[in-house]
C-alpha cells in the first residue's frame, strides 16, 4: 500500500517540481503525508521537524478539526485550515489521499 503511494508520489513530485520550488521560495517548507497511515511521504524539512508536524498536526489536530466541522453541519466538509502563531503560520490542506501542510 505505502509503496504504491510512494511511487505515485514520486511521479507527482517529478511533474510538479516548478510548483514545489515556487512554494519553497515563499514558505519555510512543506510536508506531505499519507492519510491512511499518517506516514511521511515528501517534505522539504529535516526528518525530525517533519515527523513532529505529521504527528501533531495531521494525525490528531486535523482529525479533530474535520470531526468538528462535521458535527456543526453534517453536509459540510473541511477544505482548508490555517493556524497562525506568533512565529509561523501553518496552512493545512486535507485532500482525499494526502495532506499537504505549508509552513510560512
Amino acid at each position: 500500500m505505502s509503496k504504491i503511494y510512494l511511487k505515485a508520489m514520486e511521479d507527482v513530485v517529478q511533474r510538479n517540481t516548478d510548483n514545489t520550488n515556487r512554494i519553497t521560495e515563499q514558505a519555510q517548507g512543506f510536508v506531505v503525508s499519507e492519510n491512511a497511515g499518517d506516514s511521511l511521504l515528501h517534505t522539504s524539512f529535516d526528518l525530525t521537524t517533519a515527523q513532529s508536524i505529521v504527528k501533531h498536526l495531521h494525525a490528531s489536530f486535523l482529525k479533530l478539526a474535520q470531526s468538528c466541522v462535521r458535527d456543526l453541519d453534517t453536509d459540510d466538509k473541511l477544505c482548508f485550515l490555517r493556524v497562525k502563531t506568533r512565529k509561523h503560520e501553518f496552512l493545512v490542506s486535507p485532500e482525499e489521499a494526502f495532506t499537504v501542510t505549508v509552513v510560512l
Binding site: 501533531h56 498536526l57 479533530l64 453536509d75 459540510d76 473541511l78 477544505c79 493556524v83
Partner: protein
Amino acid sequence: MSRSSRLSVTETQRKSTPVVKKAVIRSRSYDGDAFVNLFAHRGARDIMILDSHGVPLRSTCSQRRTFVFVSNLKPLLFMARNVVRDLDPSNDITFMRIRSNMGEIHMTLGTDFILIVVQKLRRLRSSSTS
C-alpha cells in the same frame, strides 16, 4: 439579533481587547453598532466572545446556536493551543481559520478572550475532494 445584544458585544469588545485592537476598531468606526454592521455586511453571520476558559460571554446569535458552536469549537481551540505548544514551546497561537465548503470560522485567541466569527459563503463551492 437584538440591538442590546449588539451593544453588549461592542462593550465587551472594548473592555477586554488590548490597545492595539481598540485602534483597529476605531479605524473602522466609533459607533459600536457600525462595527457589527460592517461585519454583517462583509459576510460575517455570527460573532461570539468567550473568556479565556471557553465560557461564552456575548453573542449575536441565539443561545442555543451559541452553545452548539462553543461545545464543538472549544476542544478544537484548546487542542490547537497544545499542538502549537508541542511543536515549539516558545511559540503561541494567535489566530485560527477553518475553511469548509459552506462557510468559514475565524477564531482569535487572545490572552483575555476568544473571539469567534462565523462567516457564510455566498454560493456553494464544490470541494476538490468530492
